[in-house]
């Protein structure tokens, strides 16, 4: 049993490493560095990174990007709604930062099996920080998803720090003067 857990741990590290690569891709494109991969049967079947600046659409988080790509793919291959739901129920998401309230709801709507995340999201995290949407039980309709945080979180935090040091080009003008480090 112990070795199983060790395997799980190795798995998580590998997949989170791939999610971090996605986050770095976002950083290189002057986007808030968050990335994710979607895993089915131990294989990465989808990935995505934040594209909020490029699209000027603040809802284009890594999770939404990867979900949209998968949905398109599955529909193109002719899967029905119930078949797609069945697919999602066997998928896990690895994301470098705790899903926000919007993404956590989206993941619950899709019925994803489990979420593994890096650092917590104190401002609008939807998996325990502000709301706990992964635990929301809706009568017989929905039972929530399994959620584990803190996987390689220091790596995710470092990326955020890099991003804010280079400055968010798309942020609104601050109301108060910002301290500039020399």
């Amino acid at each position: 049993m112990g070795s199983m857990k060790e395997d799980d741990f190795q798995f998580s590290m590998t997949f989170m490493g791939l999610a971090l690569e996605q986050a770095k891709f976002a950083l290189d494109n002057l986007e808030v560095p968050v990335g994710c991969v979607i895993v089915e049967d131990g294989k990465v079947i989808g990935f995505g990174s934040n594209r909020t600046n490029e699209t000027r659409n603040a809802t284009r988080h890594a999770e939404m990007e990867s979900i949209d790509k998968l949905l398109e793919q599955w529909q193109a291959s002719g899967l029905s709604q119930s078949e797609v739901a069945e697919k999602f129920s066997k998928c896990d998401l690895y994301v470098t930062c705790e899903p926000c309230i919007m993404c956590a709801t989206a993941l619950s709507i899709l019925g994803i099996r489990a979420v593994y995340y890096g650092c917590a999201n104190d401002k609008f995290g939807g998996c325990g920080s502000v709301l706990s949407l992964h635990q929301s039980e809706i009568k017989d309709v929905y039972r929530g998803f399994k959620c584990t945080g803190g996987i390689m979180s220091s790596e995710s935090v470092t990326l955020f720090r890099n991003f804010y040091e280079q400055g968010n080009p798309n942020a609104p003008k601050p109301h108060r003067p910002v301290k500039t480090t020399q």
Binding site: N57, L71, E72, S82, M102
Partner: protein, 407 residues
């Protein structure tokens, strides 16, 4: 029921509003008061009672009396029981006569509550920053708000098919009274119904530029709300592919998408409009881009081909084109806004947590909705997302109550 605009506060009025906690207080000499308070606030700061003022000034028999809170009380009967030693020393030093008093447990959330609280003991009151926004709607504002709400509901009605009803979202620039984007739920594989409605200030013309017209809406028959995405976000997988004999479908069928709730679609359209109207300087430009409307349409087409190459998201791009064509004014203000800053959204139903958070992300200023969402609503029913202090943006929320027979 009359039309009425009701503010939805960010937090529920607390049932503990009248609760009090007991404290040990004492009358003090006016000249000792300052010094005493300074020492007490270091010795025994009143944690969790920051709204309570340490000192009370009252007049009895024409004489001004000052009372100071020494510390929280342990025993209702005996003020001296459990008092910290350093406070006891103070009591001896200033020859105080402690008594038990009661102070409000939580801060007042409205001016009325505050006035009531201060009967016990003076407290401080900080009105919410956006208070001026929630109290006054002049006649013109109200008329515009009700007008846009009507439009959203009309959009819901016009989206109907086989008596299925969808949620609708309209993003509005309130100062120009102009629609920026509008959309219905696109969770199911119904014919595309991204409607573009244009409204003039006079409030009496409504054109809906799609295959349906409002008059097509059947007045009889039971309406089903099953497909209102925010009401039943989890039920998408049970939906059956729609078989429809309508000729419209062959022309513009869009694919189903469990997350394409009206608000998200509208945000996507607003963002697309933003990209078109306010090109980033370093982006390669058409020669004709600066010269007005036709060039903007051409840049849409260019963007359309680019996007469909990349993503093949033809449906929403088709919508963009229809939207841009009926934009009331193109780029009068050349300074690019940040996302939807300053814009309002009108929804037929209260949004779910996904949509409510999306509207926070996109920096919407005010949210208006007509009907509550008892099982999944995030702005008053299940959660009050707009009252979550941790978030980096807060919008104001209103429910517009409409006549029940509006459908």
């Amino acid at each position: 029921m009359e039309w009425k605009i009701i503010h939805v506060p960010g937090r529920e009025s607390n049932p503990d509003q009248n609760a009090t906690v007991s404290v040990v207080a004492s009358n003090v000499e006016p000249r000792a008061a300052n010094n005493l308070i300074r020492r007490l606030s270091v010795m025994v700061p009143l944690e969790n009672l920051h709204h309570v003022k340490r000192i009370r000034r009252s007049t009895s028999y024409g004489k001004v009396e000052l009372s100071v809170i020494l510390c929280l009380s342990v025993d209702e009967e005996d003020p001296l029981k459990g008092i910290p030693n350093d406070v006891l020393e103070l009591i001896n030093e200033y020859q105080l006569h402690p008594f038990i008093s009661r102070v409000p447990k939580i801060a007042a959330s409205s001016r009325e509550e505050w006035v009531q609280q201060c009967v016990h003991w003076p407290t401080s009151y900080h009105p919410p920053a956006n208070l001026d926004e929630i109290n006054v709607f002049n006649e013109e504002d109200s008329k515009a708000i009700l007008g846009f709400m009507t439009l959203a509901i009309e959009l819901t009605k016009s989206s109907h098919l086989d008596n299925q009803v969808f949620n609708a979202a309209i993003i509005v620039n309130p100062s120009a009274k102009v629609i920026v984007a509008s959309a219905c739920d696109q969770t199911d594989s119904w014919p595309a119904k991204s409607v573009c409605a244009e409204k003039t200030n006079s409030n009496d013309t409504l054109t809906v530029s799609n295959g349906f017209h409002i008059s097509d809406y059947k007045q009889n028959g039971e309406k089903s709300y099953v497909n209102v995405a925010c009401l039943n976000p989890w039920s998408w997988s049970q939906h059956k592919p729609h078989t429809c004999s309508s000729p419209v479908e062959h022309l513009t069928t869009h694919r189903w998408h469990p997350l394409k709730h009206a608000a998200l679609v509208a945000i996507g359209l607003a963002a697309a409009r933003d990209r078109i109207l306010f090109l980033v300087p370093d982006q390669p430009k058409d020669q004709s881009v600066e010269s007005g409307f036709s060039s903007i349409t051409s840049s849409v087409k260019r963007q359309k081909t680019e996007v469909s190459k990349d993503q093949g998201d033809v449906d929403s791009e088709t919508c963009i084109v229809s939207h841009v064509k009926c934009l009331p004014s193109v780029s009068e203000d050349t300074s690019r806004p940040y996302l939807c800053t300053g814009l309002d959204v009108y929804l037929t139903w209260e949004p779910c947590t996904m949509c409510a958070m999306a509207l926070v992300h996109q920096r919407i200023r005010r949210v208006f909705y007509a009907f509550p969402n008892p099982d999944a609503g995030a702005l008053g029913s299940i959660h009050r997302l707009h009252g979550e202090k941790s978030m980096n943006h807060h919008y104001t929320v209103f429910r517009v109550s409409v006549p029940e027979d509006i459908f």
